[in-house]
């Protein structure tokens, strides 16, 4: 599979966008949380799971997706959302809990839903997998185009939903691709302390579906492997499982002291940060510094605009908490 220069630049830019977005969110998240760190305070309260370092997965996969394709994401959804084309302003506003947010502040950062690009989340481990199968089934039954991609972490593979969903997808030959972001950690528990096999691609055989493993967080390899799997799904060939080695550069969530990490791991991973690495490749391939800096400027602007939008937006009336429980907007006592 050839990768056009345009696609590579989109990938780079999107990685950058995700990174700059999160770096900015990180700063703002800490507002109101010093001197004493208290999750409940500041303009962005609650848990915050950053995806720094995992951008290659999101862009390598989502480069193959259109708005009509479905993505189910997790508690760590920013990079995936951004790569899928979720409205950045409204997502940011949602993370701030504002009325202009994608759900008017009801969902927050673990519940990003954008129907325009068929993006959804669940904060419960592996629980996007069944819905991804269902969306894929819906397309198949309606004879409508579209594949579903379900992202999960390597910790999620030991959840029953993983097994049930892979079996169902294979049995019904659904257009769905399961992507495991192997960042080596499920909170503080390492992959080897949670999983009986070293690589989850071997588990694909249990469902008679293709399994792939991508090493070293390489966006270009991810692009190729994901492209093949997505093409296969699109053309009626059924599901695939892809596990991708990636890096969690930050803690599990903000505030995580990460004492469980082996010494030196963080520094080592930072030295392998995929964004500078990808920049080097692009430069080596002849893209100019100027061109890449220009992308960076565009990204800065997008992020600033999104943050400004979120900051300037109003909060919904508090009573709106009692709306949108049921489909007519009502709630029933």
């Amino acid at each position: 599979m050839l990768i056009s220069r345009e696609t590579k630049l989109w990938m780079y830019k999107t990685m950058l966008l995700s990174r700059r977005f999160e770096e900015t969110i990180e700063q703002i998240y800490l507002e109101g949380k010093t001197p004493a760190f208290n999750m409940a305070n500041g303009p962005i309260p609650g848990e915050m799971h950053l995806s720094n370092g995992q951008e290659p997965v999101a862009v390598g996969v989502c480069a193959h997706l259109n708005a009509e394709d479905i993505v189910t994401a997790t508690h760590r959804p920013h990079h995936q959302a951004i790569a899928k084309g979720v409205d950045l302003k409204r997502m940011t506003a949602e993370i701030f809990g504002k009325q202009t947010g994608l759900s008017g502040g009801r969902g927050g950062h673990m519940h990003i839903f954008d129907t325009n690009v068929n993006f959804g989340c669940s904060g419960i481990i592996a629980q996007g997998m069944g819905p991804a199968c269902g969306a894929a089934l819906s397309r198949k039954m309606q004879n409508k185009p579209g594949v579903a991609v379900s992202f999960i972490g390597e910790g999620a593979v030991n959840q029953g939903a993983f097994h049930e969903s892979l079996n169902l997808a294979a049995l019904w030959c659904l257009p769905v691709v399961f992507v495991v972001e192997d960042n080596a950690w499920g909170i503080s528990v390492s992959k080897q302390d949670s999983t009986a096999v070293a690589r989850n691609d071997v588990r694909a055989a249990a469902y008679d579906m293709p399994g792939h493993f991508v090493e070293n967080n390489d966006p270009l390899v991810i692009y190729k492997v994901a492209g093949d799997a997505i093409d296969r799904a699109r053309s009626g060939g059924g599901p695939s499982l892809i596990e991708i080695e990636t890096f969690r550069l930050a803690g599990h969530f903000m505030g995580d002291a990460e004492a469980y990490r082996p010494d030196g791991e963080k520094a080592f991973l930072e030295s392998k940060d995929p964004i500078p690495a990808f920049r080097k490749i692009l430069l080596a391939e002849g893209t100019t510094d100027v061109a890449l800096d220009h992308l960076k400027d565009q990204v800065e602007e997008q992020v600033s605009a999104a943050i400004a939008f979120a900051r300037e937006s109003a909060y919904a009336p508090a009573e709106d908490a009692l709306t949108q429980v049921f489909a007519q907007g009502e709630y029933h006592e």
Binding site: I70, T72, G101, L102, S103, G104, R106, G107, H111, F113, T115, N118, G120, C121, S122, I124, Q127, M129, G130, P131, A132, C133, G134, A135, A136, L137, S138, R139, M141, Q142, A148, G160, A161, E164, S165, N167, L168, L171, W172, T323, Q324, V325, F326, A327, Q328, G329, Y331, H332, E333
Partner: protein, 336 residues
């Protein structure tokens, strides 16, 4: 009696007919679940559908409730209108996240942008010695958690109309059918649930209770099998000259508190019948709804005739000892 033809259906057939008619008129409707195809559902409520609609729209599933109920959510969100069966409500423990954390909440989490028009149908109830993992009602377990409508019919007429309403509803609806009312002879069955049921599609509005017997001396509230026990108790009480009003809740969410309150206004007495476990359940909610609304309505202490807080025993005499019945309701009245 008029000369229009009486068409008595069992609840099982009424449900199947409702689904069939909705499938005929709406290509988005389909059915998923265990043994709902060739077998027609363990409790008969999908019988005949496979023959008419084929394996694409009548999908037998693996024993993977988390995956296929989750798939129902995903399909509903993508524009389909799945009717998904959880064979026994007792099995909710293997798949409840897909139900209560996703099906029930995604409308809210998405600020109303994502609709989940899905029907989860599931069998409830005991009385035929199927023991503690196959005989529960779990009404309150579902009704306690926000975002899903929870309904349970007591007869075929309501079953058909409520199923059609559920399929057409843009909110997720949990449709609980009581095994003892299905009209499946092999389970034993309450004959009074098999009633005249129009052939044409019609809806019974979800969230509305129904006064199934008018009376002035005591209000007996129940749903599903409880309604039949209440009606039998009302017959017995009538022999004593006591005029009981019986309210069929039909729906737990939304709960039609007004109908219950109006009835109690009239009668001044309240008995709640519930086959689900007593504590933290339906009976407490109904009683509290009345007393918090107007403390002066009741002329004597309210009573509950509910399943005691014990797992359901296998042995017939033990199970029957625990189940609500007409005699217990009459006794509750006498103790008022």
């Amino acid at each position: 009696m008029s000369n229009t033809k009486i068409r008595r259906l069992t609840i099982a057939r009424a449900m199947a007919e409702a689904i069939q008619q909705e499938m005929q008129s709406d290509p988005r409707v389909f059915v998923m679940g265990e043994d709902i195809g060739a077998l027609g559902g363990v409790f008969g409520n999908t019988r005949g559908l496979l023959e008419e609609f084929g394996r694409e729209r009548i999908r037998d599933t693996p024993i993977s409730e988390t995956a296929f109920i989750g798939a129902g959510v995903g399909a509903a969100q993508d524009g389909m209108r799945p009717v998904v069966e959880l064979m026994f409500v007792d099995f909710f423990g293997v798949c409840f996240d897909a139900i209560y954390n996703n099906m029930a909440k995604n409308n809210y989490f998405s600020g109303g942008n994502v609709k989940v028009p899905m029907v989860l149908m599931t069998s409830t109830g005991g009385g035929y010695s199927d023991a503690g993992q196959h005989s529960q009602c779990l009404y309150a377990t579902f009704a306690h958690l926000p975002g899903m409508k929870v309904v349970s019919p007591s007869n075929a007429y309501d079953a058909k109309g409520m199923m059609i309403a559920a399929i057409r509803d843009d909110s997720p609806v949990v449709f609980m059918y009581h095994k003892g009312l299905q009209g499946m002879g092999w389970l034993g069955t309450e004959a009074a649930a098999t009633v005249d049921t129009p052939e044409q599609p019609y809806q019974v509005e979800l969230g509305k209770a129904k006064i199934v017997r008018e009376g002035s001396d005591v209000t007996i509230v129940g749903l599903a099998m409880g309604v039949h026990n209440a009606l039998k108790a009302a017959d017995k009480l009538a022999e004593e000259g006591v005029n009981a009003e019986v309210v069929d809740l039909r729906s737990l969410v939304p709960l039609d508190r007004e109908t219950v309150i109006s009835s109690v206004k009239k009668t001044g007495r309240l008995i709640v019948v519930d086959e689900d476990y007593q504590s933290y359940g339906v009976s407490g909610e109904v009683i509290t709804s009345v007393v918090e609304h107007d403390y002066s309505l009741l002329r004597s202490g309210p009573k509950r005739v509910a399943y005691p807080d014990v797992p359901i025993p296998f042995a017939r005499h033990m199970e029957q000892f625990c189940l609500p019945n007409a005699d217990k309701i009459v006794a509750a009245f006498h103790a008022m």
